[in-house]
């Protein structure tokens, strides 16, 4: 009964989404306020119905209703309740439902927080979101219905993939999807602006907070995915340039460019068509990511559900959405004009440089991801593009972008002067260079690559400090009381930039100083890694709720003193007949000790991976800082003010500079 209610709710949501997609858009075109007025209630209604469907599916999972095919395939009565709930979005069908749930959630949020927007704009934005919803609801109902029944019901389910039975993996997809789907708001705003023919700084101001919010979620989502891969896949890597990872990373790169470009469009009215193009690209890449993951066209470490028929549907949808909006762009963008003028050296031009570099980086990732497919399509053989390609293309493109990132916040809009900038940043440059030389020397042997990594990181820190210092300066006097008066948007930017620096420190240190040792350990054997001695004391059999495991005991000591005991596990999940490596990690601010069991070799000996990963937590810490920066910027006074005011603002009066 419950699954049928869910199914019915989905059908109703589809009908509402069609209404939401057609009437308001038509109303906006003909100036019919009644039709436009449909947008808000329709989007909220659609949200309620999809939420109901989601609740029904979650209920079926939690109550072990194995007469639902999706539940029987992806859950098991032995699965702990939180994972049963998480299994709701663990399958392809469920994750699509989550996708639509998020989409309608964003769309309902827009309908609530858009009271200060002109009716026409709201109608267009919600209309476009309604059309996207129609596409995905159709996709779900036609090719991947989460409520399909199974007759006769299964006795028990096939269980959730053991890899996914993990707290990190429980929240990773919702965060990632919040980001993916969140870009649909920026996309809808861009399309609405193109449709309305009014591409001024106002639409940039409206879509900016939404874009930032989506970007924050995407950042967190990618970070969780990387963290999960690190501790769950059992080989200590944190990023593999895997197609699925790239699929989430490309929208992030373009989203980052979009955030910056929106800032220019809002404040100076420049880059208008470029910003629109970025908004279209960010969402298209999100769709492409969905396509790549769901169609199975690319080989990947973790493509879980693949089905070519679904791929065809998503591809057609991608063609309509992206193709359609690019046609619209080609028709409307030439009339937009250039907007605010600026000199060759100015904050605008620096941001433009950053945008070009980010776009090039995204293009190279896209090329590397799709290249094997291209060759295969042309029958030129099978190849794979591995991490070395991405490392050797991505890093050189990002290095200048990070240099510009230090300069940008200090440059003036419209016109800046290089000698002046060099003067103001000279101390930052000195600090960066000196630290970059000293740090590797103190830590051990010096190499150019290490130094270069640290140079970028310290450059970001020092330039950010310089920027803060200048803001506090009154004449030659530091006015500390101004610290609290700086806008939160500014602090958000600083936090995000410092986050990049923290991230670079993490990456550089891990790449330079990590120790990875695969060893054979008998009971009593000791191995020294990263200043610690690790003693293997054998394994014992333990039973988990839905698995059995060999649990190793490794005593970590420093200078002969035992400091910690680690318990890596090798788990066996009988329902799926699969083995899982559960690494034991002693995590700290300055580095991790990582131990995972390989396999039994000989009598009671095991092959063991023992890794020391200095500063690896900084990688994810940097990402968290970036996301926090985004959230901080969202609490800026002007957004709170516009929420409180709730009345139409004149189009240009409120734009601060």
């Amino acid at each position: 009964m419950i699954p049928e209610i869910g199914q019915f709710a989905l059908i109703l949501a589809l009908l509402l989404s069609i209404v939401q997609g057609v009437l308001p858009l038509a109303g906006a075109a003909r100036g019919n306020p009644v039709w436009m007025g449909v947008a808000r209630p329709a989007s909220r209604g659609q949200f309620l119905f999809v939420a109901l469907a989601f609740g029904c599916l979650a209920y079926s999972f939690v109550t072990n209703d194995f007469s639902v095919l999706n539940v029987a395939n992806n859950s098991n009565s032995g699965l702990p309740v939180p994972y049963r709930f998480a299994a709701t979005w663990g399958s392809h069908e469920g994750s699509m439902l989550l996708w639509v749930f998020m989409l309608t959630g964003w769309s309902a949020a827009v309908s609530i927080a858009s009271r200060s927007l002109p009716e026409e704009m709201v109608a267009r934005v919600l209309g476009v979101m309604g059309l996207i919803g129609t596409g995905f609801l159709l996709f779900m109902l036609l090719t991947s219905n989460p409520f399909d029944r199974l007759f006769p019901a299964a006795q028990d389910g096939r269980d959730m993939n053991p890899l996914l039975q993990d707290p990190g993996m429980v929240i990773h997809p919702p965060m990632l999807y919040m980001g993916y789907v969140g870009f649909s708001v920026a996309f809808s705003f861009a399309i609405a602006a193109l449709l309305g023919g009014k591409l001024d700084s106002t639409w940039a101001r409206w879509s900016r907070p939404w874009t930032t919010l989506a970007w924050c979620f995407l950042t967190i989502g990618i970070m969780l995915g990387s963290w999960w891969a690190y501790y769950e896949l059992g080989w200590g890597g944190w990023w593999f340039w895997d197609p699925v990872e790239n699929a989430s990373f490309m929208p992030w790169i373009v989203g980052t460019a979009l955030i910056h470009s929106l800032a220019v469009t809002e404040r100076r009215g420049a880059f208008k068509s470029w910003t629109v193009l970025l908004a279209i690209t960010a969402f298209s890449l999100s769709l492409l990511g969905t396509f790549l993951v769901r169609s199975g066209v690319l080989t990947s470490v973790h493509a879980f559900a693949t089905d070519p028929k679904r791929g065809v549907f998503i591809l057609i949808f991608l063609a309509i959405v992206t193709g359609g909006s690019l046609v619209l762009f080609a028709v409307r963008a030439p009339k937009v004009g250039l907007g605010g003028k600026f000199e060759i050296v100015s904050r605008e031009s620096l941001l433009l440089g950053n945008n070009v570099l980010l776009a090039a980086a995204c293009g190279s990732v896209l090329l590397g991801t799709l290249y094997p497919l291209f060759l295969d399509a042309l029958q030129l053989g099978k190849i794979s593009v591995g991490p070395p390609y991405f490392d050797s293309v991505f890093a050189p493109l990002m290095a200048p972008a990070i240099f510009l990132m230090g300069v940008g916040p200090l440059a003036r809009w419209k016109e800046a002067r290089i000698p002046d900038l060099a003067m103001r940043l000279r101390w930052a440059a000195v600090i960066a260079v000196v630290s970059a030389i000293l740090v590797p020397l103190i830590a051990g042997e010096w190499t150019l690559m290490k130094s270069f990594g640290y140079l970028l990181a310290f450059w970001v820190f020092a330039a950010s400090l310089t920027s803060i210092r200048e803001r506090l300066l009154v004449g030659t006097q530091l006015e500390w009381s101004r610290l609290g008066q700086l806008p939160r948007g500014y602090w958000g930017m600083i936090a995000a930039h410092v986050g990049i620096g923290v991230f670079i420190i993490g990456v550089t240190t891990v790449k330079s100083y990590e120790v990875e040792r695969d060893v054979r350990m008998d009971i009593g054997d000791t191995v020294a890694v990263g200043g610690y001695d690790l003693k293997f004391e054998g394994t014992e059999e333990v039973a988990g709720p839905n698995y059995s495991a060999a649990r190793g005991t490794v005593v970590v000591s420093r200078n002969g003193k035992a400091v910690r005991t680690l318990h890596p596990e090798k788990r066996f999940y009988p329902v799926q007949q699969s083995t899982m490596t559960e690494a034991a990690i002693d995590s700290g601010l300055f580095g991790d000790l990582y131990v995972s069991l390989g396999e039994p070799v000989g009598d009671r000996a095991w092959s063991v991976r023992v890794y020391s990963k200095p500063f690896i937590t900084w990688i994810w810490g940097g990402c968290v800082l970036m996301a926090l920066g985004g959230f901080l910027a969202l609490t800026d006074r002007r957004y709170r003010a516009s929420l409180a005011q709730r009345s139409a603002l004149p189009a240009h009066a409120a734009s601060p500079s």
Binding site: T299, A360, Y389, S392, S578, A605
Partner: protein, 149 residues
């Protein structure tokens, strides 16, 4: 600066950035693409000797031998037509089993022994890596016999 010059300068900057990116990509492609060969192709000497490439197929049943150090593993990869000797030192992935699909990346020695630097097996019990499936399919298309030893 005149607007026209400014425009030219911006375009020139864009072109420079773009060509640097293209250069990087081409350079990286040249040295970092990993080609894929089937055991039959390797045995027929179609694979390069001093370059990293990937092989795929099935781990032949009964072929896994562990060296005394406990970490070095020798096994044979077959596409059902031809087999290739592979040696690997390190911890193998959870799903590395006899009779299962496998993809290995490494270099071929002049003695015909494939030294793997990486062994990949996917985290799904019933899954065969596409490259491995491809190798087996190629061998079958070539009209090879299908019997396993």
């Amino acid at each position: 600066m005149k607007p026209r010059h400014k425009r030219i300068a911006i375009i020139a900057g864009g072109v420079v950035a773009l060509s640097v990116a293209v250069g990087l990509v081409l350079n990286a492609f040249q040295s970092n693409l990993v080609f894929f060969f089937t055991p039959s192709q390797v045995v027929a000497k179609e694979a390069p000797i001093d370059r990293t490439f990937r092989i795929g197929g099935m781990v032949e049943v009964g072929s896994i031998k562990r060296h005394a150090d406990g970490l070095t593993v020798a096994f044979r990869v077959t596409d059902t037509a031809k087999t290739l000797d592979v040696v690997y030192t390190g911890v193998l992935p959870d799903l590395f089993r006899e009779g299962k699909g496998v993809v290995a990346q490494g270099r071929l020695g002049a003695d015909g022994l494939f030294k793997a630097s990486e062994v990949l097996a996917k985290h799904d019990e019933n899954y065969m890596p596409p490259e491995a499936a491809h190798a087996i399919e190629q061998a079958r298309k070539a009209g090879a016999t299908v019997k396993q030893p």
